[in-house]
């Protein structure tokens, strides 16, 4: 049964805190297994990849067949229906247009002292995208990871996707093609992450690895972090819908269930000012669940983590939303922009009754890789920014060094860093000769 809470009830705070602190993920420890796999791939390279793929994916590969050939890709892609292709192309174009606006700009200026300062952005040279296999192989996620990388200017874009028993989703390959991916390898798990981080004879290493994955993939990304960059360690997904009393309960129920059907660990929360709306939505959810193909998953998520909260007013709703810091926030109210201004911590906000979260998963344009489990307090969704890095620039004239250098000399002295100060003094001609005798 989902949790019903009411901010007017005496035990509200207790119930809300319990909801916030509920652990939705089984953090089973796979670290040792992952460490062994990474070590194996570093030591034996392609050979290890082929053996591990035979063991985990029941697929016999050689170094020569690790990578999809252009002919194999073309043959799979030819199986995609024109309707699916058109939908994927619309999504790709909209995602590209949105992310193109994210490119940050270089800056340079000269200050009154004569110091020319600024920064310069440049793309990561090579990026690797992990794509889960089997049921979780979402072509939309390929677009959401690969297009920002391409927009950023990444030169070499690699995908690793496991193909258990040799099965691949043709839409995944089409999404890779539409995004401009350069290389696609039929490997998965921690071994794929290790191969992208350290390289093998067949797979050149990349600089950054992004993309979702299971516990092994997540543990592998955490372990190779530092050797390469990673995007984030994603947890189970969640949606918060804030609604007034003037909404269609069925629409809200579908939105809650669109989240719940992802994963039994997903969480769907409704906050409403209208107790009758809470009841109507709960009834609609109960009515719909048995009709779903994924009734077991959605039902488990709703039963274990579904939450309905009745609040006195929308200001209270915004305050609770900020404590939840939801990955997805739907504002089905009269003035969604006004309410959004009060909702500070959220990965993505969907404004108004005609913006269901599902359009954001596919075609609205913003990224669907978003911070989960309250991490919207401190992090952002995937973007072009994940595939660029900033170099700061400074050029001082002799006059600028004369103006600001003495302060550096003094601070260096206070920190006991003599050579720091001397490197400035030598240029200013104020270096005590004793130091160099």
């Amino acid at each position: 049964m989902p949790v019903f809470l009411n901010t007017s009830a005496a035990d509200f705070e207790q119930g809300f805190r319990a909801m916030l602190s509920a652990k939705r993920e089984d953090s089973s420890d796979v670290n040792d297994a992952v460490t062994a796999i990474i070590r194996d791939v570093r030591a034996r390279g392609d050979l290890a990849l082929c053996e591990l793929t035979a063991r985990f994916d029941r697929l016999q590969l050689t170094p020569a067949t690790l990578r999809f050939t252009p002919e194999e890709i073309a043959a799979e892609v030819a199986r995609v229906t024109p309707e699916d292709r058109a939908a994927l192309m619309l999504a790709a174009e909209r995602i590209r247009a949105y992310h193109a606006r994210q490119m940050p700009e270089d800056a340079s200026w000269t200050d009154p002292e004569g110091a020319t300062l600024g920064w310069r952005w440049s793309a990561v040279s090579a990026a690797g995208l992990y794509v889960p296999g089997g049921q979780a192989a979402y072509p939309s996620s390929v677009l959401m990871n690969a297009i920002p990388a391409r927009v950023a200017g990444v030169e070499r874009l690699v995908i690793c996707v496991p193909t258990p028993d040799g099965i691949i989703n043709p839409l995944v390959l089409l999404a890779a093609q539409l995004s401009g991916v350069d290389e696609i390898y039929r490997i998965g798990g921690a071994q794929a992450v290790a191969a992208m981080a350290y390289g093998t004879d067949t797979i050149a290493p990349v600089d950054k690895i992004t993309g979702p994955g299971n516990a092994y993939v997540a543990a592998a990304k955490r372990q190779v972090f530092g050797r390469v960059g990673i995007d984030m360690i994603a947890g189970p997904s969640e949606v918060l819908v804030i609604a007034d009393g003037d909404q269609n309960p069925d629409w809200l129920a579908w939105d809650l269930l669109a989240q719940a059907e992802h994963d039994a660990d997903a969480q769907s929360i409704l906050i409403t000012t209208d107790p009758a709306m809470a009841q109507a939505v709960a009834a609609a959810v109960d009515r719909i669940i048995p009709t779903l193909d994924r009734a077991a998953i959605a039902g488990a998520s709703w039963r274990d983590y579904g939450t309905l909260i009745v609040v006195r007013d929308l200001a209270e709703a915004a305050a609770l939303s900020n404590r939840i810091a939801p990955e997805h926030l739907e504002l089905c109210v009269d003035d969604p922009e006004g309410l959004a201004a009060q909702c500070i911590h959220a990965g993505a906000i969907f404004l108004g009754a005609h913006t269901p979260e599902a359009v954001g998963d596919y075609v609205s344009g913003p990224n669907h890789v978003l911070p989960t489990a309250r991490s919207a307090r401190f992090s952002s969704g995937l973007s072009v920014m994940d595939f660029v890095k900033r170099t700061t620039m400074a050029r001082l004239t002799p006059g600028a060094l004369a103006a600001i250098g003495p302060a550096a000399v003094r601070l260096a002295a206070s920190e006991g860093l003599q050579a720091h100060g001397a490197s400035v003094q030598a240029r200013l001609g104020t270096l005590n000769e004793r130091l160099t005798e």
Copy 2:
């Protein structure tokens, strides 16, 4: 002895690879100890903090004395000389002016389909800055961490700084005051990181933790990552100086030694087109080292990791620089801007002979917290961006949903996510009633 390499030599590639892959850090495993400390702080809060501080810092505290009082801060700050205060204020002002330009802008636009899209930036609510104690307590690092947070709009800014035997550097407190820090606690190590991540009765939790620290602090940051955001796991520092034959060898020697004096694990590299310059700089370094206060540290760094490379031309220098991806890159050449355009991977670039790296450590304005150990390939120095997060926004009109919604429905079907599609169809009035019966 430092390594001498020449790209014209037959064994150059071998020597260069050995230099690149040299491990400069002892990755002693402190993870278990750190896990135990974090668990203790979570379980016993302030009491654990006091006990651990008594044990590690030989300092008796109570929950009431964990935090510096305004009077204590004022008394310490009064000990700072006017000259040191003026230098710190100059640095703070320049760092603030540089970082103020980094504030990213919100965006909003409406596309032809009627979708209003964009994003909004907002500050992290509370940030915690770790400041090492003892010899590594650098007031400049307080400015470099705290000022970007304040510029970003962080509401609550906390510092934890250990005070072994009760000793505190007054300049650290003045730097905190100049940066607008709200709370300063006299605790350090993994226990300070745990307190900031999870909170105690006395210390409210923060959302993001930044700042340098020893192996315990680094391990604690890695362990609490996800619960809170962290900046990066910094490794030993490095500088690469690229010089033509027309430079003052003493200036370059001081620059190399300013890096080497930080830490025996630091690395200083000179790349030059002029073999005579390499010899002259090496001779100057050898002459200066014995005169340094920190001769033992700088000498060890230079002996173990110092490297001089002679190249045929500056294009070759840029190519090697890109493989090194240095934290600090000094371009002491005739046309530093031209060379900088070829040096793609670097944390910070210092252009021309009058921009020694040391001015960047203190007063030029850009941040001195920079990506080390080749991570400039995929990451950037600390900035305002580390203290803000982006919320993506979307609002569709009914017409926009009608235009792009059907593609979402099709993609949802291809991914087997029925409720995703239905949440769109319900709004479009195209939902097959069978689904809800």
